[in-house]
């Protein structure tokens, strides 16, 4: 019998706290509503404000993007901004996958997304894209972020890329291509290890082989083409360029 009494007491304590939380939650909701009525625009208009907002949330241990049903999403519209961006990112990556094997630079992704959003759409920063991509990971289709040079490569296919692959990608980032000798020189690897990594990238379509390069074969990353070497030209310009 005393056992049952203790159990009861225990339940009452939790009930109290839950009731308290429920009340505080209502108050917080009101505060958030007030905030939203004054500053909702700031979230949509200012990438800097979004960064500050996200950092503050992270500091206190809150994820405003966890659920569309969360207060942050419902009242500030934070969710819609990032979830819609997620859709646009998926579509861009899918459209370009045949060309770059599922690897794209953050810059190119940003350009393409902005193009798709149209002239009057809100500005989208690279920080915005990174946050949206981090959320997409949970869908299981292989979204990931690989730091290279001063920027990032965005992966959108479930190909397994381990530390060795990542390091070679980083090496290739400078010129857009890499050779077996360069890998051996910079990373001090045995030739077999270098070849395995490069073969994997070739198979995944993330690297293209140029066997006609002077000296030794060069492994190019199409993901870096636009960044380093090409320009967007209009059909008219292309026509003029042809003999």
């Amino acid at each position: 019998l005393p056992q049952a009494k203790y159990k009861e007491r225990g339940t009452v304590l939790a009930e109290d706290q839950l009731a308290q939380m429920s009340k505080q939650l209502e108050m917080f909701r009101t505060n958030l509503e007030e905030f939203a009525s004054k500053h909702k625009q700031e979230i949509r208009k200012s990438p800097e404000f979004r960064v500050q907002f996200q950092d503050m949330c992270a500091t206190i241990g809150v994820d405003p993007l966890a659920s569309g049903k969360g207060f942050w999403s419902e009242m500030l519209g934070v969710g819609d901004f990032y979830y819609e961006l997620g859709v646009q990112i998926i579509e861009v990556c899918l459209a370009l996958k045949h060309r770059n094997g599922g690897l794209i630079t953050l810059e190119e992704l940003q350009q393409q997304v902005l193009k798709g959003r149209g002239k009057f759409a809100q500005d989208v920063s690279q920080d915005d894209l990174l946050r949206a991509i981090k959320k997409l990971k949970v869908l299981g289709s292989g979204f990931g972020i690989i730091p290279v040079g001063g920027t990032f490569l965005v992966q959108s296919v479930p190909a397994e890329l381990n530390m060795d692959h990542t390091v070679v990608l980083q090496l290739a980032e400078k010129k857009g291509f890499v050779t077996v000798s360069e890998i051996r020189q910079s990373l001090k690897w045995e030739p077999e290890r270098a070849r395995q990594v490069l073969e994997h990238l070739l198979k995944e379509g993330m690297a293209w082989l140029d066997t006609q390069a002077p000296g030794e074969p060069q492994y190019w990353l199409p993901a870096l083409f636009t960044e380093l070497y090409s320009q967007e030209i209009t059909p008219e310009e292309a026509k003029e360029a042809m003999p």
Partner: protein
């Protein structure tokens, strides 16, 4: 105090807020000033003080100006203080509230506590010197130029003044937004602390909490965006909301699934559903949590996770293993196929085509030829012709 400059209080690009504290008084050495009650902000680059009553009054000093800091404990009727010793002001310093000062240090009085944490974080920032590796944007430069430009022709001054006012108004809006945001975050922090305390109680009681209470608690966490490993372990992340969502999805996805051969990747579903909604979109986590409940709710769809980690939604009536038999026939007809070729032939996404071929291989029906020319699948003759 002559080291301080007027500022908008806006953080620059590359500058991050570290900590803030209300109720701080600023003194010039031993002399009290009119900077009686303000919010002290610590960023990776500066120490910023903003008057709590008059938001326009905002001053800052770069962290690089700090020589060292000391703590002064609280006494009777006296708040705890941090003494900040500063280098002499540089000649190109932006204008501030004081042209000169007889002291080379300032005092920060923490009337509403917070001194211990602030001292700790300020020490960290001074040690780490993050401002050196994070160059900030040109936000300050713009103001300087516009002030110098006032000397130009008379007619332009009026236009410039208007622009300056508009800029100040925007800055003020953002400053205010930022201030309001900080207040909001303080309240949110209290919610997080409360939820932690409740979660600990649940952990201690190990199942003496009713299912009803757990459901309520999880929905509170969902509203605030707080993740809690304790409840996730024992009862999963799903809530009532996700249950309802699962039922909705079953309705929405029936036809699209039938049109696509009974199977769709989760990214496809995410795009389809959100494009259709237009507003009040689902988060990726919402979708996953809802899909995880499909089976237990006995709905006509289910979530399936392949070895590769790829997640798909299938109609219950869909049998991937049967589809494998059809795939084998297709591959046999053509001799061999890559995932791309198979996808084109059958009219599937490459992602799902690959998964089907991999499954066929796993079941022993196909063999792979893995070369730099691509991954190609052949009927497994070892099995059929031995």
């Amino acid at each position: 105090m002559d080291r301080f400059s007027w500022t908008t209080g806006l953080l620059e690009l590359g500058e991050t807020l570290v900590l803030q504290q209300r109720g701080v008084r600023l003194s010039d050495g031993e002399e009290k000033l009119k900077f009686d009650s303000g919010v002290l902000l610590l960023s990776t680059h500066r120490l910023i003080w903003r008057d709590q009553k008059n938001h326009e009054c905002c001053i800052a000093v770069p962290l690089s100006q700090i020589v060292f800091i000391e703590e002064q404990a609280a006494g009777i009727g006296k708040s705890a203080k941090i003494v900040v010793h500063l280098h002499p002001a540089s000649s190109n310093k932006e204008p501030g509230p004081f042209q000169s000062s007889k002291y080379s240090y300032i005092k920060l009085s923490f009337k509403e506590h917070g001194q211990i944490e602030f001292y700790r974080r300020l020490s960290e920032e001074i040690t780490q010197r993050r401002w050196e590796s994070m160059p900030t944007g040109q936000a300050m430069q713009v103001n300087k130029d516009s002030r110098a430009g006032r000397i130009r022709a008379v007619g332009i001054v009026g236009i410039e003044r208007k622009l300056e006012e508009k800029r100040k108004e925007t800055d003020k809006n953002i400053s205010e937004a930022f201030e309001d945001l900080s207040k909001l975050m303080e309240k949110a922090k209290e919610m997080v602390e409360l939820s932690k305390s409740i979660a600990n109680k649940i952990k201690e009681k190990q199942g003496d909490i009713t299912e009803d209470e757990t459901i309520r608690f999880k929905s509170y966490l969902l509203s605030m965006g707080i993740a809690n490993p304790v409840t996730r372990e024992t009862y999963g992340s799903g809530t009532q909301y996700h249950m309802q969502l699962a039922k909705q999805l079953a309705g929405i996805l029936q036809t699209p699934l039938e049109e696509r051969g009974g199977i769709m990747s989760l990214t496809e579903v995410y795009c389809l559903v959100n494009r259709a909604r237009g507003l009040e979109l689902l988060s990726p986590e919402d979708l996953v949590n809802a899909c995880k409940m499909l089976e237990s709710l006995k709905l006509p769809l289910r979530l399936r996770i392949f070895d590769s980690g790829v997640m798909v939604i299938e109609l219950q009536s869909h049998n991937e293993e049967e589809m494998v038999a059809a795939a084998l026939e297709t591959v046999s007809e053509k001799g061999s196929l890559t995932a791309d070729e198979f996808a084109k032939l059958v009219g599937m996404s490459v992602l799902l085509a690959k998964e089907r071929l991999l499954l066929a291989e796993k079941m022993g029906h196909l063999c792979r030829d893995d070369s730099v020319e691509g991954l190609r699948f052949y009927p497994n003759l070892f099995l059929t012709q031995s």
